[in-house]
C-alpha cells in the first residue's frame, strides 16, 4: 500500500479512531509535547493549563448537547456546580464547617459527581426537549439562577456566598496530588492528572459521537421531524444528550476547583455558562478537538490580555488613572472575542480547515 496511504482496505480502517497517517503522527506529537510541558514552564502556567484541561472536559460535554445534538444550553454552570458540590461534599472533611464525608479517593468522587450531575440532567431534560433555540437557552439560564439561589441558601453545603468552602480533594492512591511530592510539584501533578483525564474523556466522547448515538444526535440537531420518521426517537436522544452532557459537566465541575482548592456559590453564574458556550463556539461547534481548543483559548485569553499591555507601547501600565491597564485588559478580552468570531464564525476549527485547504490546493487558488 505504499504511496497510497489513504486507501482503506476495510471498513474497520475507515472507521478507525485515527484513520489517516498524518492524523496519527500529529496526535502522537501533540501528546508527547503535552507530556513534556510540565518540565518546561512555570507553575502558574501549569495551573492555568490544568484548569484549561478541566474546562475542556466541560466544554466537550456542552458540545455534546449543543454542538452535536443542537440543544443550546446556557445551563452548564448549574451542572458544573452540582458536580463541584458533589465532589467537594464527598471528599470534604467530615468534621469541617460544611458537609463532608471524607471519601477523598479521586476516582470515587469523580464518578459520583458525574453521575449526580447526569441524574440532574435527566430530571431537567423532559422540560428541555419541549423547547428549542433561544427559548431553551434562556430557560436553562433560568436553571442557573435558580441553582444560584439554592446554593446561596444551602450554606451547610456551600459555605454560603462570599465565604465558600474547600473544593474536592484530589487524592489518588493515598497521594495528595495538589501537594508537592518527592518528584513533582503540586501543579505538575495536577497538570498531568488533568491531562490524562482530558485524554480519557476526550477519547470516550469521540467514540460516542462516531457511534450510532452520535449520528442520532446529529440527526436530531439537523432536523428532528425527519429523524423521527427514519427511526430515531428525538425525545430519547435529546434526553440522552442532556444526561451525558451533564455527566461531563459534573466531572469537570468537581475537578475545576480542585486545582484552586476553594470555591464559593458566586462562581456558578451566568458568566460561567457563557464562557462555556463561548468555548464551544470559538473552538467550533460539533467537534471534540474544537471544544478542547476553545476551552484552552478562553482559559488562556485573560493571561494573554494581561501580557498584552506590556508589549503595546501606547498603554500606560497605570493601575488607577483615567484609563487603567485593567480596563484595557477587559476591553481587549471583549474585543478579541468579537474580532475573532467576526473573522472566523466557524471557530478555530474553521481556521484549521482553511489552512489545510490552502495548503492542499497551493499554489493554485480554486
Amino acid at each position: 500500500m505504499r504511496g497510497r496511504p489513504e486507501l482503506y482496505t476495510s471498513y474497520a480502517q475507515d472507521t478507525a479512531f485515527l484513520n489517516t497517517r498524518p492524523k496519527r503522527a500529529w496526535t502522537g506529537a501533540l501528546v508527547a509535547f503535552a507530556l513534556l510541558v510540565p518540565f518546561l514552564v512555570t507553575d502558574d502556567l501549569l495551573v492555568l493549563l490544568a484548569t484549561g484541561f478541566v474546562a475542556a472536559i466541560g466544554a466537550i460535554g456542552l458540545n455534546i448537547v449543543t454542538g452535536y445534538a443542537g440543544q443550546v444550553s446556557l445551563g452548564h454552570a448549574f451542572f458544573l456546580a452540582i458536580g463541584a458540590y458533589t465532589g467537594a461534599a464527598l471528599s470534604g472533611d467530615p468534621d469541617g464547617r460544611v458537609i463532608g464525608f471524607g471519601v477523598t479517593s479521586l476516582p470515587v468522587w469523580l464518578l459520583a459527581s458525574g453521575l449526580v450531575a447526569g441524574l440532574a440532567g435527566l430530571l431537567v431534560a423532559p422540560l428541555a426537549v419541549r423547547l428549542r433555540g433561544l427559548y431553551l437557552a434562556i430557560v436553562t439560564l433560568g436553571l442557573v439562577f435558580l441553582g444560584e439561589h439554592v446554593f446561596r441558601e444551602w450554606t451547610s453545603l456551600t459555605g454560603g456566598p462570599g465565604i465558600g468552602r474547600p473544593a474536592a480533594v484530589p487524592e489518588l492512591l493515598g497521594v495528595r496530588l495538589d501537594r508537592p511530592s518527592a518528584w513533582f510539584t503540586g501543579p505538575q501533578q495536577l497538570y498531568l492528572l488533568m491531562f490524562v483525564l482530558l485524554v480519557v474523556f476526550g477519547v470516550l466522547a469521540r467514540n460516542l459521537v462516531r457511534s450510532r448515538i452520535g449520528r442520532a444526535f446529529a440527526a436530531v440537531r439537523d432536523r428532528d421531524l425527519a429523524a423521527a420518521v427514519i427511526g430515531v426517537d428525538p425525545t430519547r436522544y435529546k434526553v440522552l444528550a442532556f444526561a451525558i452532557s451533564s455527566f461531563y459537566a459534573g466531572v469537570a465541575g468537581s475537578l475545576l476547583f480542585a486545582v484552586n482548592g476553594f470555591f464559593d456559590p458566586g462562581s456558578f453564574g451566568l458568566l460561567l455558562s457563557v464562557q462555556y458556550i463561548a468555548m464551544v463556539l470559538i473552538g467550533g461547534a460539533g467537534t471534540i478537538s474544537g471544544a478542547i481548543m476553545g476551552a484552552l483559548f478562553i482559559t488562556l485569553l485573560p493571561r494573554v490580555t494581561r501580557e498584552l499591555p506590556e508589549v503595546l507601547p501606547f498603554i500606560s501600565a497605570d493601575a488607577t488613572g483615567a484609563v487603567t491597564v485593567f480596563q484595557v485588559e477587559a476591553v481587549l478580552y471583549g474585543l478579541l472575542i468579537v474580532v475573532f468570531l467576526i473573522v472566523e464564525p466557524r471557530g478555530l476549527v474553521g481556521i484549521w480547515a482553511r489552512v489545510r485547504n490552502y495548503w492542499r490546493t497551493w499554489p493554485f487558488s480554486y
Binding site: Y11, A12, D14, T15, F17, L204, N207, L208, S211, R212, I213, G214, R215, A216, A218, A219, R221, D222, R223, L225, A226, A227, A228, V229, I230, G231, V232, D233, P234, L240, I244, G286
Partner: protein
Amino acid sequence: MNPTANPAADPTANPAANPVLEFEDVTLAFAGVTAIDGVSFHVDPGELFAIIGPNGAGKTSIFNVLSGVYRPRSGSVRFEGRELLGVRPHRIAALGIARTFQNVELFAHLNVVENLMLGRHHHMRCGALAAFAWLGPARREELANRAAVEEVVDFLELAPWRRMPVGLLPYGVRKRVELGRALAMEPKVLLLDEPVAGMNAEETEDMARFVLDVREELGIAIVLVEHDMGLVMDLADRVLVLDFGRPIRTGTPAEVQRDPDVVRAYLGEARDHQGTGGAA
C-alpha cells in the same frame, strides 16, 4: 443489498391474500382545511401504487399519516394487519415503513455514508456505554451495518460522493441519497414523495431505473406520489387520484388517464402526457 434481510422474500408471507398497507376511511383536518376526507385504499405486497392529484390535494398528508407524523381524526391505518394510528413515528419506521420527502430532508451536516447509516439506526442496538467504549459488540455492529450501507451505495451509484456532506451535493444526488437512506432501512413499504421533481429528463430516467430496480430486485411495495405523469403512468400498477382530500378515482393508469374528472381536475386538456420528460 442483503437479500436474506428482504422481507418480501420471506416464504411465510402470503402476498396475494394480505395487503401490506390498508388505509381505511381516513379523515384528517387542520384548522379550516380538511386535508384528507374519507380516503381508503390498500397496497399489495410488491405493488407499485401511485397517488396523484392537484397541489394541496392531500397526498403528502397521507404519507404523514402513514409515518405517524399526523394523527387523523378518524379512520384506521394498518400495516401487515397491525394498527398504526397512535404509534409514534420512530416505531413505525422500525416496523418497516420508509419514505423520502417532498422537500429533501437529509441531515445537511452529515456526509452521505453517515446519512445512510442513520437509515440503519433501528437495526443497531448498542447503548451509550458500549458506544463510549467502542469495543467488541459496538464495533462489530458498526462494521456489519457499514457493509450493508456500502451495498446501498453501490446499488445507487453513490460512491463518488460518499464522504461529502450532503448539504453540498447537487439536488439530484440528494434525492438519490434520500432514496438510499430509505433503502438502508430495509423497509417493507417504501413511500416516495415526488422523487423526480426538479430533475431533467436524464436524471428522471436514472431515478426511474432505480425505482424499478428496487421493486424488481428487492420486491418492496412502493407508494409513489408524483406530478410527472410520464413516470406515473409508466411505472404504476394502480393509481389513486385525489382532489381536495377526496378520492375521485382508483384504477390502472390507462383507466385513470381517460377519466374526465381526472382530466378536468388535474391533468388539464389538450396535452399529451405520455413520454414528455420533465414535470408535465
